[in-house]
Symmetry: D2
Subunit: 143 residues, 4 copies
Amino acid sequence: MRPTTSTTPASLQLADAKAVLAAQPFSRLVGAQLTAFGDGRAELRVPLAEHHRQQDGVVHGGVLSYAADNVLTFAAGAAVGPAVFTAGFTISYLSPARGDELIARAEVVRAGARLVTVNAELFDQRDDDEHLCAVAQGTVARR
Amino acid sequence: MRPTTSTTPASLQLADAKAVLAAQPFSRLVGAQLTAFGDGRAELRVPLAEHHRQQDGVVHGGVLSYAADNVLTFAAGAAVGPAVFTAGFTISYLSPARGDELIARAEVVRAGARLVTVNAELFDQRDDDEHLCAVAQGTVARR
Amino acid sequence: MRPTTSTTPASLQLADAKAVLAAQPFSRLVGAQLTAFGDGRAELRVPLAEHHRQQDGVVHGGVLSYAADNVLTFAAGAAVGPAVFTAGFTISYLSPARGDELIARAEVVRAGARLVTVNAELFDQRDDDEHLCAVAQGTVARR
Amino acid sequence: MRPTTSTTPASLQLADAKAVLAAQPFSRLVGAQLTAFGDGRAELRVPLAEHHRQQDGVVHGGVLSYAADNVLTFAAGAAVGPAVFTAGFTISYLSPARGDELIARAEVVRAGARLVTVNAELFDQRDDDEHLCAVAQGTVARR
């Protein structure tokens, strides 16, 4: 997440963060929405469609890894401001994602002087229930 | 990578693997192409366009993580056949990806009785040079 | 964790698990103790001494990674029994560990048919307070 | 790796690096030796004994994770000097380690302005042959 403009350099509000997401062409291609942002937390949602699938009909792992990457970065930005870049992350796939919507939630574990460690959980929503599909752990660096 | 049909259950050839990729709606959305497959190795290429970018103009990390996820899985399939699922992976971003094409190459490190460990490297191609953008390490399970 | 004997093949109790730990020469060298075990959870403690340190006086990262490796494996064993082996894990170091005791707690996130995903947190205990030093995410395979 | 003294702040030589390792009480407990250091590479060796084992006689995963942690950090120090700390790493276990000696080799993949990405391979030596036991990928931060 590297916003080129921000009303306040040191912090991002939900509206600012939504504007950052809307300015990401790949996030528009995927159809992601930012539904919560603040206090070292972020939530992304992806309404699921045919074009998110892999050959067997479940959601492609790449959609989950995209959501993990992005929600981890937004959560870090919600803790320490926009001057961050994602160093990397680990994702473990737990069960195939299906259903109406993918929900990715991330929370900062520790915001250090140089690095921010973030955990994320990814759920699919089916029949009003959420099912855990993947967990991720990431490292975001301050610039 | 969970092909529902395969000419030989125990192995996949390049043509089969290309058919699997073509049967992934999300890979079509991203525009990925499979350019090498066999002997525990795979190569994916994504011709880069505006819709792969994040807000600052470089390729979105989610495109890289999609490519890592998929090429790791194909490389494992090239070693042990199609009856695999990806358990997870770690990706480290090294430098922003730009240029004309994203190239993801993966190689199986070890194909064990239950798990296959795979390494991947992601490059962007600019002005006929390849630049390393990310490295990944993944675990793929046999079904 | 590969116990060679177990009163019941399908499950481990705290006493069994303590016997497994006591049968690990490296865990005796490090001085680890198993203080909780069951229901997909485990807790290891390492009373800290001079020989756990690195050159600057804080606990060596290798002690933390040992504790993460072991507690993740025990938690998986507490969920699915002793017939498991650890495929790998990711550890993020958050702050230097100091003080009297290292505490590693792990909890199974998902026990699947082939793989068990586990999260762990590592704390040091100083002046009766616990401080989070590291987080880990691991994958354990069923045999 | 946080050496408190160094003849030159910007670089470490093999002798300096050996002195750092010798100043790590936990590395002395494990019995690790630094056998190569320079140009973004490092090699650690651990002569294997009974006290490195787990309950089934193979080398404990914690010995491998210790070696990965340490060799990754030394390789980063060999690239960018001693002012570094390890942010975290991922280790995948490929096969049980046995034999006479554990050998850990690491190489810097990219030394960026803030972060250094390092890959490592761990081998055991048996009957004059080396067998790959684990691979690791780590992130080391500059101070």
